[in-house]
């Protein structure tokens, strides 16, 4: 059977026919290979800079790597076909050894589309079929045209929803006209540039400092001096800051403040850039198929999550933004979202904006009259004592080292940790409503998890030997795609919670949850 090209052949004929991915795909992959060739080229060019043919060798290497990459990409493209069958999607691939994989429609949780910069220029998408296998094991097709990606997503959904002839006919009818009928979508959450900038201000990150440090360690040899040698720095600063050194301690303090300020600026700038790259044009919609989220500046992703697959919702915040009422909302599900199982559905919004989204997912935000309960005080006391015990030897060592005033540091830390436990005792709380379980945790950065009681998978009460003697336990709840636990509560309360949750679980079978 000759593989048909979905972009040229009539789409209605594509069922059960092996198809190739978009031919532009291997061009893209070849170009991406070229990116990879740059670094070896630079390395060769640098190490052979004294040779006559150094530059030539570097160019030759680059051409070779690029050609090899393009060649492989072409072969790979030639040998990879996918088939949309009656009940499954099959992908056959491999240049020398062949691999065939079949994924039944029922097992596909979700079809997500992802576009990074290069494919985007060519109008291509990477189509990922989420089965819950996670990470590398997921089936993905790189790259298809945008229309083909959309079509595939519609086909999978139609087959999945009801493998009836009616839906199938409808799907192929849609495909025939090549203009899939867009369901009326309701915008739940969107972030304009202004909101995005505010968000970015809070996403302080020093990751770039670490990256630069790592890069310097790796490529430090290329610098004209050894960065780990103090003398080099002194020489470097001797020019512009030479005068500073003669100005005495006040100037040095000024220098330190300037240094911290520049670090702050770098951190804020990194946060801004990262946030804008990730969340540019953030749009969350409620479509007939579920929640649809699009975001990204250079790499654009388009993820759809069916409503019934939301296992729990999490509301988080930050140290500063929480004081200003900004919160982030994410859904817990078995599908993966860029490595994490939490789907961020509203990264930065006020509670009033988040509440409708929570309601749309079939969850209720905590009501005013919810009966919150606290953990056992004994658990907190034990934690505080344990941290004090860990810090005591440090204090002893510092005193033994003839620096008694240094012992204040571990003592202060112990007091701080003790205060933290008091706060946690005061603010960590949980509550049970007829259909949901609420768990609030965190001290300075409070988090709230809301799980549907019926959607939990198992309940475990665990106690270590101290907890058994002092009367507290931890309740672990099995949650598909996440973890959930209430720690340090009275055993009787744990029993009561478990009984309540198990009763809710027993009422619904797993298959009725529509995972």
């Amino acid at each position: 059977m000759t593989p048909a090209n979905p972009d040229t052949g009539p789409i209605s004929e594509t069922r059960n026919v092996p198809q190739r991915t978009n031919p532009l795909g291997f061009v893209t992959q070849g170009l991406q290979g070229l990116q990879r060739a740059i670094l070896p080229m630079v390395a060769v060019g640098y190490s052979m800079r004294d040779e006559t043919f150094g530059l030539l060798a570097a160019l030759g290497l680059g051409v070779f790597i690029a050609a090899a990459g393009a060649g492989f990409a072409y072969l790979h493209w030639r040998r990879l076909t996918y088939t949309v069958g009656e009940t499954d999607i099959r992908v056959e691939s491999g240049i020398l050894s062949r691999a065939a994989r079949s994924v039944p429609f029922e097992r596909i949780q979700d079809v997500s589309l992802e576009q990074s910069l290069l494919p985007r220029l060519f109008g291509l998408v990477q189509v990922r079929f989420e089965t819950g296998a996670g990470g590398k094991d997921e089936l993905s097709l790189q790259y298809l045209s945008e229309e083909e990606g959309e079509r595939l997503r519609d086909v999978v959904r139609a087959r999945k929803d009801g493998a009836g002839a009616e839906t199938r006919a409808e799907a192929s009818a849609n495909a025939d006209t090549a203009t899939p009928v867009e369901e009326p979508a309701k915008v739940l959450f969107a972030m304009g540039p202004r909101r995005l900038l505010t968000f970015g201000m809070f996403e302080f990150s020093l990751a770039v400092v670490a990256v630069i440090g790592g890069a310097l360690q790796t490529f430090g040899d290329f610098l004209p001096f050894d960065i780990w040698e103090l003398e080099g720095w002194q020489k470097l600063f001797a020019g512009p800051f030479g005068q500073l050194e003669n100005l005495g301690p006040s100037a040095r303090i000024l220098g330190a403040i300037l240094g911290l300020a520049s670090l702050l600026v770098v951190g804020v700038a990194t946060g801004l850039v990262r946030t804008v790259l990730r969340d540019w044009g953030f749009l969350l919609e409620r479509t007939a198929k579920g929640f649809r989220r699009r975001r990204g500046l250079l790499t654009r992703t388009d993820v759809v999550m069916p409503v019934h697959r939301v296992q729990a919702v999490r509301i988080g915040t930050g140290l500063v933004r929480g004081r200003l009422g900004w919160h982030g909302l994410s859904f817990v599900s078995m599908a993966q979202d860029s490595g994490s199982s939490n789907h961020v559905v509203a990264p930065f919004g006020q509670m009033d904006e988040l509440r409708p989204i929570i309601a749309e997912a079939g969850f209720e935000p905590p009501s005013e009259d919810l009966a919150w309960q606290r953990g056992a005080a004994n658990a907190r006391i034990d934690s505080a004592v344990a941290s004090a015990f860990l810090l005591a030897p440090v204090a002893v060592v510092t005193i033994a080292l003839d620096r008694p005033w240094l012992a204040l540091v571990p003592l202060a830390a112990a007091v701080f940790l003790g205060l933290r436990q008091v706060y946690l005792w005061r603010f960590e709380r949980h509550a049970l409503s007829p259909s949901q379980l609420f768990i609030g945790s965190g001290w300075l950065v409070p988090k709230l998890s809301i799980a549907s009681r019926a959607k939990l998978q198992s309940v475990e009460i665990s106690q270590h030997i101290l907890g058994r003697k002092r009367g507290y336990a931890t309740l672990h709840l099995g949650l598909a795609g996440g973890t959930m636990a209430v720690s340090g509560i009275a055993p009787d309360l744990a029993e009561e919670l478990r009984r309540a949750v198990l009763t809710s679980i027993a009422r619904t079978d797993f298959s009725e949850l529509g995972q």
């Binding site: 198992s458 106690q463 270590h464 099995g478 996440g482 973890t483 679980i505 027993a506 797993f510 009725e512």
Partner: protein, 187 residues
């Protein structure tokens, strides 16, 4: 995950329990176990399996200490006596305590698995949430006619709950019972 190998507090206890007493399952220091159903103890052969496993692990250490002893590098008995004593406690006493700490309860719609000495856990798996069921027999378990029942759930925590030390026939019956509760997933 298994329990942490018991150390000083356990080993320091003066006299070992002579028989796997059923009373220990309801001893006062296991206070939170007052669920609706009483726990069923595992098959006594489970103790033997645990002992053999620990013995196999301890053998290299005992041999090593004896070799060290015969080399006469350290004063007589300094090394070998504690090692042999520790091995004896680990082989004789610990499996018994572990066995006593373990138990299960088959409810109408759930399986409860209790285990752990230092870190005690009491897990309830509703039958309606079981994804699939394994009954495994290792070579030692086969000798003693035992099996391990494993329930898999979709949760990230307790993705698989193991219940070792069941009589093979019991494990198979339990599997059938649980399977009957799982409705066929609609395809």
């Amino acid at each position: 995950m298994d329990e942490t190998p018991p150390t000083a507090p356990d080993a320091a206890l003066p006299k070992p329990d002579p028989i796997p007493a059923a009373s220990s399952v309801t001893s006062p220091w296991q206070a939170p176990d007052h669920d609706d159903d009483a726990l069923t103890p595992l098959h006594p052969n489970h103790v033997k399996v645990l002992r053999i496993v620990i013995a196999l692990t301890a053998v290299p250490f005992v041999i090593g200490s004896l070799v060290l002893e015969s080399a006469q590098l350290v004063p007589t008995g300094l090394f070998a006596v504690p090692v042999v004593l520790a091995a004896a406690i680990l082989i004789i006493r610990v499996p018994l305590r572990r066995y006593q700490a373990r138990g299960y309860a088959m409810g109408a719609d759930r399986l409860r698995v209790v285990r752990g000495l230092l870190f005690r856990s009491d897990t309830a798996v509703p039958f309606g949430r079981v994804q699939h069921i394994d009954v495994n027999q290792g070579p030692l378990e086969r000798v003693y006619g035992l099996a391990t029942l494993t329930l898999h759930t979709a949760g990230s925590h307790n993705a698989s709950v193991h219940l070792p030390g069941l009589l093979n026939e019991d494990a198979l019956v339990m599997r059938e019972t649980i399977r009957a509760h799982i409705k066929r997933e609609t395809v």
